[in-house]
């Protein structure tokens, strides 16, 4: 059939059957949920188990009062789904919501209130917070307005990159913070479009995966606090308080005020993919912005409170998230909701993976008890649409469930490895008794992930939630007063060390030590087995002035300061070369945990441990020096990494190498730049082949190879 003929096909469902409130309508299709453009109209479908009646409320875009209120005729209800197609709507210029009527009886979990206009949980766009930081008109009855979104983006030949998990180098970044600083020099600072302009920077750095802090619509103005010192208003800057799970944050788009945020975000993703960079979203399914019984009614609470939230027998909200409510993730309806949401982001936005905030909650039963075989996690692991996406769990929750190493993985799930972070931090600051556990962590944590392989471990030293790398080596204690919570917020167990002075100092020795410690951290991170994750800005020593919980700081405390790219070029270069080195050496990215088995091609074990004396690691509690040598199948190089957290230097005896190979120096954090690191392949052969003096608190990386291929 030609295109012209197909356009001429008559469809019965393109015509109205009823009239409601002066609008021509017909019964809609229950699936898919949400508002979908169909021939001649828009089909609206919404679920509510206990509502006695449902009304579609339509506004002309931006108008305070509705232009129409259309009650769903009884015959438009299938099961617990209300579905109606409304004809003749200009879908670009309307906003919509629902009034759900039903019982108000909190003890049984029902909080229906037909006076409230509710957001559609499946809304693909939200209006009301279109430009970041603009004070909302709170007198308006309906704040977060659902909008219709066309799903017609031209992806061209964009396909998932499918980068093997073990090859990922993840970069955790905040959409706004990355380019909001006035010195970012982008056209639209703080937006998806702004981030898009910085793709060349990311590419040059060498990362191949960007993990974005929440981009689902949230309300940055829902933080009532102000800075006690300056009086400046505080925001919900990070956005871990989702208002709408299907809608990209309008305030993150230069085009949000035109309702173009979907296209702008997709354009960013398409261009990131073209640059070889995957996109992972940090998603927050453990709670919503509706809070507890004191919180606002936005959507779920008014549509079907008892289904969407975990409630106590008295009808109050369980609070395993620490933020007021807990999503009832293993309720069959909510399970499908989460699944639909993730499918939407994969199919309609080409997202490559997800990091689940407080994911342990996803494994709790309807009454809050942990499930041995959580159906939601299994569902996500096997879903056909999500099949090749990366699934990463923050394997703990605020209710005390800590599942690092035990998260139900179904062969798919990886985890943020909090134990890696804690161990490497303790080693770096010079704690006693850490070398044994350090060895386990840098070998991909076989104690935690023996059956899952090294790629189950996302290794990180810093993340949005805690000190930046620069602050980790500059502060013993957090400095969170600006958050207005009397410094009571944020983690206290930071394992940080200020190197001799608290905060900024003019002391050149302390500053040199701090730089070295940052290089040590980066060197260990990128030579560890598992997926490395770098916090945005750590490569240029981004500081938050000791604030380890900048969730509310929309200012220079949080923003990436682009002047630091020049000011800290030394650290940036070091990080770039370390990332390149990792890519160069397959043995660092092996999915299998090392066993100590001898590799036939080299006659050396896949992993071996060394101390001051070759082959003689010192595991005693006062030991602060450990060296590891790795070689892999197919690779002819040997990589030797010596880590010295001791405040004294040590003479290292290097293991002998087979087949005409000799030790070449790649990095020595104790050396002055530019001799601190080289380009992979450009390592310099050591003069004294058997020995190397490692400086105090330094990491040395050597490559055992031959420059003469005939010697192999």
């Amino acid at each position: 059939m030609s295109e012209t003929q197909s356009e001429q096909v008559l469809r019965v469902d393109a015509y109205p059957t009823h009239e409601v409130g002066g609008y021509r309508v017909r019964a809609g299709k229950p699936f898919p949920f949400g508002a979908n453009v169909v021939p001649g109209g828009v089909s609206f479908s919404v679920f509510s188990d206990q509502a006695t009646s449902m009304t579609l409320v339509i506004y002309k875009r931006g108008e305070p009062e509705p232009m129409a209120e259309l009650e769903f005729p009884e015959e438009f209800r299938t099961g617990s789904v209300f579905a109606m197609t409304v004809f003749g709507l200009d879908h670009e210029n309307i906003e919509y919501g629902y009034r759900a009527d039903g019982p108000y009886d909190p003890v049984t979990g029902h909080r229906f209130d037909a006076r409230q206009v509710l957001s559609d949980p499946y809304a693909r766009l939200i209006a009301g917070r279109d430009v970041w930081g603009v004070e909302p008109d709170r007198s308006r009855g309906y704040q977060y307005r659902s909008r219709v979104c066309l799903q017609d983006f031209d992806w061209g030949d964009d396909t998932p990159l499918g980068i093997p998990a073990e090859d990922l180098v993840v970069y955790e970044a905040h959409v706004r913070g990355f380019t909001r600083h006035p010195n970012s020099q982008v056209t639209a600072p703080g937006t998806f479009a702004g981030l898009r302009e910085k793709i060349p920077y990311l590419k040059e750095l060498g990362i191949n995966c960007i993990e974005l802090l929440p981009v689902f619509e949230f309300d940055e103005s829902d933080n009532p606090r102000s800075n006690p010192e300056t009086g400046e208003r505080l925001f919900d800057y990070w956005g871990y308080n989702t208002v709408s799970f299907f809608a990209p944050k309008a305030g993150y788009a230069a085009t949000g005020r035109y309702g173009m945020q979907g296209d702008e975000f997709r354009t960013l993703i398409k261009d990131l993919h073209a640059a070889g960079i995957e996109v992972i979203l940090d998603v927050v399914f453990n709670h919503t912005a509706e809070g507890n019984e004191q919180g606002p009614t936005i959507s779920f609470k008014g549509l079907d409170n008892a289904t969407y939230y975990m409630l106590t027998p008295e009808g109050y909200y369980f609070n395993f998230s620490g933020t007021g409510n807990t999503v009832n993730c293993n309720h069959p309806v909510v399970r499908n909701y989460v699944l639909d949401c993730l499918r939407h982001w994969v199919a309609d936005y080409h997202i490559d993976g997800f990091r689940f905030d407080l994911a342990a909650i996803l494994g709790r039963a309807l009454d809050g008890t942990p499930l041995p075989n959580p159906p939601l996690l299994e569902l996500l692991a096997y879903d056909p649409v999500l099949r090749h996406t990366k699934l990463i769990a923050e394997a703990w929750d605020a209710g005390g469930l800590y599942e690092v190493g035990n998260f139900p993985a179904y062969g798919r799930w990886a985890e943020w490895n909090g134990k890696y972070r804690d161990t490497v931090r303790r080693f770096l600051k010079g704690d006693a008794g850490v070398t044994g556990e350090l060895a386990t962590r840098i070998a991909g944590s076989p104690d935690l992930y023996s059956s899952r392989g090294t790629a189950a471990s996302v290794n990180f030293l810093t993340a949005h939630d805690g000190f930046t790398l620069a602050d980790l080596v500059s502060y013993n204690d957090k400095r969170n007063d600006a958050n207005g919570e009397n410094n009571n917020d944020g983690a206290n167990d930071n394992n940080s060390w200020n190197c001799g002075a608290e905060g900024p100092t003019e002391d050149p020795e302390i500053n040199a030590l701090r730089t070295r410690q940052m290089k040590n951290a980066i060197a260990i991170l990128f030579t560890s087995q598992g997926i490395p994750m770098l916090l945005s800005g750590d490569e240029v020593a981004r500081t938050q002035q000791g604030n380890n919980n900048t969730y509310c700081q929309d200012n220079e405390l949080s923003w990436f300061d682009w002047d630091q790219v020049d000011d800290n070029a030394e650290l940036l270069r070091f990080t770039r070369e370390m990332i390149a080195f990792r890519k160069h050496h397959r043995e660092l990215r092996s999915t299998a945990h090392p066993t100590g088995q001898v590799r036939e091609n080299l006659g050396l074990p896949d992993i071996s441990w060394h101390g001051e004396r070759a082959w003689q690691p010192d595991w005693s509690s006062e030991s602060r020096l450990i060296a590891v040598a790795r070689c892999g199948t197919g690779d002819d190089d040997v990589v030797y990494v010596a880590m010295n957290a001791h405040w004294e230097s040590h003479d290292l005896e290097l293991p002998a190498l087979p087949g005409g190979r000799s030790w070449h120096l790649f990095a020595d954090t104790g050396a002055e730049a530019p001799h601190d690191i080289r380009t992979p392949g450009g390592e310099q052969e050591l003069d004294n082949a058997g020995k190397y003096l490692i400086g105090p608190r330094s990491v040395v990386i050597l490559v055992g190879r031959t420059d003469d291929p005939e010697m192999l």
């Binding site: 200009d90 670009e92 210029n93 479009a193 230069a254 085009t255 035109y258 173009m260 296209d263």
Partner: protein, 103 residues
């Protein structure tokens, strides 16, 4: 105000001239013209917008559409847009991929 759209070729440039309002109702005409222009294979598509007094999000969408429709090596030029229209294009960050020009 209805949109009038004209299409012509001047050397290696395909010229689209728009007059009127570019909104949800009129954008389909513009889309069709872009499809045609993309098929011409010229190195530049010049969109003359001096006569466009108003551009809704549908118009912005049309420009994104145009950008996607033409080959990578084709330059899209928006010429003569009045300040409110060019400001919209700049805010959207589209001036990175579309050349905005006064003349």
């Amino acid at each position: 105000m209805p949109l009038s759209v004209s299409l012509s070729i001047e050397g290696d440039t395909t010229v689209i001239e728009l007059t009127g309002e570019l909104d949800a109702k009129t954008a389909p005409d513009f889309h069709q013209t872009i499809e045609k222009a993309a098929g011409h294979g010229t190195s530049t598509v010049e969109i003359r917008m001096a006569g466009v007094g108003y551009m809704a999000s549908a118009g912005l969408r049309s420009l994104v559409f145009a950008q996607q429709k033409v080959a990578n090596n084709v330059t899209i030029k928006v010429v003569g847009a009045i300040e409110p229209v060019s400001r919209t294009i700049r805010t959207a960050g589209l001036d990175r991929s579309i050349v905005l020009s006064d003349e």
